[in-house]
């Protein structure tokens, strides 16, 4: 069996096996889920080991006929971009499970159901990044909403069902617009080269300008909702506030990347001309996202809301990097996706521990944690520093690449974007000062520091953040060739070729 299929199928098998465990034995369920997802992560690392960096076409490719009537294939294959995202997803899942060991209790349904949903979601996350058939991608893209919907609605806090519905309806709306475009593309392919959903073949279509613009918009709006880009972002803060920290990590860390991944894989590859037409608009939206997200983050009183808005700001950077259409910007955006995944994970996980200990998510309820719970405070500090792209931590490299790549083509956008970094210092440093430093506020005196399980789970994330800050080369090596190819395929060349990556 192909290793890629194994990575994708293993969680699903695990989900089926969990059913055999008695519902009451929730510790065993958790341990089993951790075991399965760790195995998946290891398998994914082997996937990376066996990956040939010099080849930019799909590797581990395979294809089985699924619905021959429409020539739909169960076709998988990965290039550098999808590989790093699969790595991100599969590594985050076991960390999340370990870090949020008790999160599944007190939900609407059993602990077992929680892990079944997580495992199904993992299969879909791998599938969505590995699909090389447009229809298959669409199926994963839409179907993965359902487990997330139940995870937010069943195990979240606060106004969870409203948030779950808002999330689902926004995403479905985007997905259905995309469906219209998928159908359009399918019909055009049928008229030109014979019905197909194969990505490489679809990229060769000649589509007239007007149609291409509409088809592009169908895809782009779906991805912009997912990513989320201003003004399609309004579902995210609600969802992030209501979801459990673990679900939020997967939601912001992985699922939202499907949006930016889709922009690269589909918008640019299938509609290069339309992408060119809309680039000014999209760059503008990205800059607005960066600034708007940053300002909103500064004003947040709620930790989860704060992280959600910082993400909107960061997704602005990613989208800007993608549509700058330079190889530096593209590499930067791809690297940013990975780094953002880990730094958001760190922020959300530590914030989750803080919140569950204090039973509050309001920033002003905390204070002086540095003295009471030094390990937790330091973890939060490092995660925060990564969020503001402190040099030496992972986000800095990617943010720098994005800005350099953008500057060579859109200097004004890059300069305004840089303002986002300054604001980032505000929205990170103020909460850090409020929560970690100063006098110990009432109610925090006896807060417990991280226990061993929590330390073990956060350690790899922090390690990745630090190592990737100093030595991003292994990941960049995976990303660079594919990123360069994406830019060239979209019909661009770097305005200044000699900027080092």
């Amino acid at each position: 069996m192909n290793l890629l299929t194994l990575v994708g199928a293993l969680p699903l098998v695990g989900a089926a096996l969990i059913y055999l465990i008695p519902t009451k034995d929730s510790e065993l369920v958790k341990k089993f889920a951790l075991l399965v997802t760790s195995l998946v992560a290891i398998a994914a690392i082997f996937l990376a080991v066996g990956f040939d960096k010099s080849i930019t076409s799909f590797q581990y490719a395979q294809s089985y006929s699924w619905i021959p009537t429409f020539n739909i294939n169960f076709a998988l294959g990965i290039d550098g971009i999808s590989l790093v995202l699969i790595l991100l997803s599969t590594i985050l899942v076991p960390i999340v499970i370990l870090a949020t060991w008790n999160e599944s209790e007190g939900g609407r349904w059993s602990v077992k159901t929680f892990y079944v949903l997580i495992l199904i979601l993992e299969t879909m996350m791998v599938g969505v990044f590995a699909a090389s058939d447009l229809f298959l991608f669409y199926v994963f893209f839409e179907a993965m909403l359902i487990p997330v919907y139940f995870l937010i609605g069943g195990y979240g806090t606060g106004n969870r069902s409203a948030a779950a519905v808002k999330f689902l309806l926004y995403s479905l709306f985007g997905g259905l617009l995309m469906l219209a475009s998928v159908i359009g593309l399918y019909v055009i392919a049928g008229n030109q080269i014979g019905a197909t959903f194969d990505l490489t073949q679809l990229a060769t279509l000649e589509i007239d300008n007007q149609t291409e613009n509409f088809l592009f918009l169908g895809f782009f709006i779906a991805f912009a909702i997912k990513a989320p880009l201003w003004p399609f972002h309004t579902w995210l803060p609600d969802a992030a506030k209501s979801a459990t920290p673990g679900t939020s990590v997967l939601l912001l860390g992985v699922l939202d990347k499907v949006g930016t991944y889709g922009m690269i894989r589909f918008c640019l590859a299938l509609f290069p001309d339309a992408s060119k037409t809309f680039t000014p608009l999209i760059i503008t939206l990205s800059v607005i996202s960066i600034i708007y997200g940053a300002f909103m983050a500064i004003g947040q009183k709620d930790i989860k809301g704060l992280i959600a808005f910082t993400s909107i700001s960061h997704f602005g950077f990613i989208t800007m990097g993608i549509f700058a259409m330079t190889s530096q910007g593209m590499s930067g955006a791809n690297l940013y996706m990975v780094n953002h995944g880990f730094s958001t994970a760190a922020l959300f996980l530590v914030a989750g521990w803080m919140m569950s200990r204090r039973n509050s998510s309001t920033i002003s309820d905390f204070g002086g944690l540095q003295r009471v719970t030094p390990v937790m405070a330091w973890s939060f500090f490092i995660a925060g520093m990564s969020g503001l792209a402190l040099p030496g931590l992972s986000s800095f490299v990617s943010e720098f690449l994005v800005l350099v790549g953008t500057y060579t083509r859109y200097p004004v956008a890059a300069i305004i974007g840089t303002l986002g970094i300054v604001l980032a210092a505000l929205y990170i440093l103020i909460p850090i000062q409020k929560t970690l430093h100063g006098p110990i506020t009432e109610g925090n005196e006896n807060m417990k520091d991280l226990n061993l399980r929590e330390k073990i789970s956060i350690a790899p994330v922090i390690a990745i953040i630090v190592v990737m800050g100093f030595y991003p080369k292994p990941v960049l090596d995976l990303i660079n060739p594919t990123s360069a190819k994406v830019v060239v395929d979209a019909g661009y060349s770097d305005p200044i070729a000699e900027v080092n990556k």
Binding site: T69, V139, A143, F150, S161, V165, L179, A180
Partner: protein, 502 residues
């Protein structure tokens, strides 16, 4: 001198068997004692449907335009549609066999002593079975009828039993009878429209055969043809509950006994769409410039109105009624597509939708309190906690209606919209996806009620279904799931059978 027409008994046999079964059922009803009558009637219905299905399988490769002189055409698509009707009816009959949904004595005045006595003495009449078989036979004739008179006869043959069946609910009898009356009156109007249009078409073409009408198209004044098409369409669009001829649907769906609603929602749609597809693809195809804009507008209206009004519904049967209106709109886009893909997609959609609908109404029949079925959505709150299995199945069916990937509804939607896009009708595709997004809202809302809201202290519970209902619901659900994940078998079949003889 009249010459006796020659009849192709072999190709007509699937219908004849069902008709014969219906007549037999009437005799049994008249002459048999009450102890075993229900069982015998049920056996007859199931046996007849199985026989008919087997006969359909035998004639699957035969086609004939002269089976009953010129009034019936047996062709690939006709056989597929007939088989669909029979299969869905076969599943529905297991729901209908749950006698306690039906009034014991239809002739007893609601609330009267006679009614109470009939119930007490278990004088359950079983006329529902022959009525049901007559309706099925009519539905089998409708999509293969190729002249306007036969079409009309078939329309009446399946409508009249349905009017009656709709009024036979044991509980909430007044509501049920009101529904029946409403259905009957509006149906009669629609039939009149149909006849009126048929007269115009005859005046235009000089023939009642739909092939003859097709041949005559363009030969004379188009106004007559247009009037004819419009009025015939009104009659047909009424049956599929397209906007603006939909107003009966929610009332009838709500008032009729739930198993009958299930049967009606699934099978009438197949039969009526079968006839519409045949008439428009064969009879009116030459005159498409006249009717396509009109039907396109109606299709868009139907999806949009159905989806929007469904949001305001507080009763699960009414909500599904509006959802069926919206689905009629989606199906109409297959009619407007007017190409082979459109026909194949419609055939697939009808099967997928029919199965999902049967299962959904089957489950609605299980949610009860002491006075009978509970269809008020507010009382469905927390159902997932009371019965996780039934809750999950219903949620799955709703997702299928909404067209989420990996469900049969999604494949149906995809194929029908791509056929519509192929025919250049992009407006209908855009309207379709947008109204799907609206529709998703009310399906999802029900899922929230079932799963995300704590049950209030209420007497509502999910009853343990009888064996027959269990069979019916599980067969429908499992087929719906299978079609969603591995649709290629049914798609291939629909593709192979998507052929009308012109």
């Amino acid at each position: 001198m009249l010459v006796a027409p020659s009849l192709g008994y072999l190709v007509l046999s699937p219908m004849l068997i069902v008709f014969a079964g219906a007549v037999l059922g009437v005799l049994v009803e008249a002459f048999m004692g009450k102890t075993h009558r229900a069982a015998v009637q049920f056996t007859i219905s199931v046996g007849v449907l199985l026989l008919s299905l087997q006969q359909l399988w035998r004639i699957r490769d035969i086609s004939s335009t002269t089976a009953a002189v010129d009034s019936v055409t047996i062709d690939k698509a006709g056989i597929f549609l007939q088989a669909t009707v029979v299969l869905l009816a076969l599943i529905a009959v297991f729901l209908i066999a749950d006698q306690d949904n039906f009034v014991a004595q239809a002739s007893a005045v609601p609330g009267s002593n006679e009614e109470a006595i009939a119930l007490q003495q278990k004088n359950q009449q079983t006329e529902i079975f022959p009525l049901f078989l007559f309706a099925v036979a009519g539905m089998m004739l409708f999509p293969v009828a190729t002249d306007l008179i036969t079409l009309f006869v078939a329309l009446e043959v399946f409508s009249l039993p349905l009017y009656l069946l709709a009024g036979l609910s044991r509980r909430k009898r007044l509501l049920s009878q009101e529904a029946a009356l409403k259905y009957f009156l509006l149906g009669a109007y629609a039939s009149a429209f149909f006849l009126f249009g048929a007269a115009f078409l005859y005046g235009y073409a000089g023939t009642i055969s739909i092939r003859g009408i097709s041949a005559a198209a363009g030969s004379a004044n188009d106004v007559l043809l247009l009037i004819g098409i419009v009025f015939v369409s009104v009659g047909l669009l009424f049956k599929i509950s397209a906007v603006p001829f939909h107003s009966w649907t929610p009332d009838v769906y709500q008032g009729a006994p739930t198993p009958i609603t299930a049967f009606m929602a699934a099978c009438t749609k197949v039969a009526a769409f079968g006839a519409i597809l045949r008439i428009f693809y064969v009879g009116f195809a030459e005159a498409q410039t006249l009717w396509r804009p009109i039907i396109t507008v109606i299709a868009i209206l139907t999806m949009v109105v159905g989806s929007i009004v469904a949001i305001a519904q507080r009763d699960v049967k009414r909500m599904l009624a509006y959802s069926s209106i919206a689905h009629a709109g989606f199906l109409l886009s297959g009619v407007v597509a007017l190409n082979k893909d459109g026909l194949a997609a419609s055939l697939f959609y009808l099967v997928a939708y029919g199965l999902t609908t049967l299962a959904a109404f089957g489950i609605i029949g299980l949610v009860r309190d002491s006075t009978g079925e509970v269809t008020d959505l507010n009382r469905w709150i927390g159902l997932g906690k009371k019965s996780p299995l039934i809750g999950s199945i219903f949620a799955f069916l709703l997702l299928s209606f909404a067209g989420i990937p990996l469900t049969s509804g999604f494949i149906g939607k995809f194929s029908i919209f791509s056929a519509a896009y192929q025919s250049g009708n992009i407006a209908i595709v855009v309207a379709g996806v947008l109204s799907s997004a609206i529709a998703a809202f009310f399906y999802v809302r029900v899922i929230i009620m079932i799963f995300f809201t704590d049950p209030v202290n209420d007497s509502v519970s999910v009853i343990i279904p009888s064996v027959k209902s269990k069979i019916s619901i599980s067969v429908a659900t499992v087929s719906s799931i299978v079609i969603g994940i591995a649709p290629s078998f049914l798609l291939t079949a629909a593709n192979n059978f998507a052929n009308f003889i012109k």
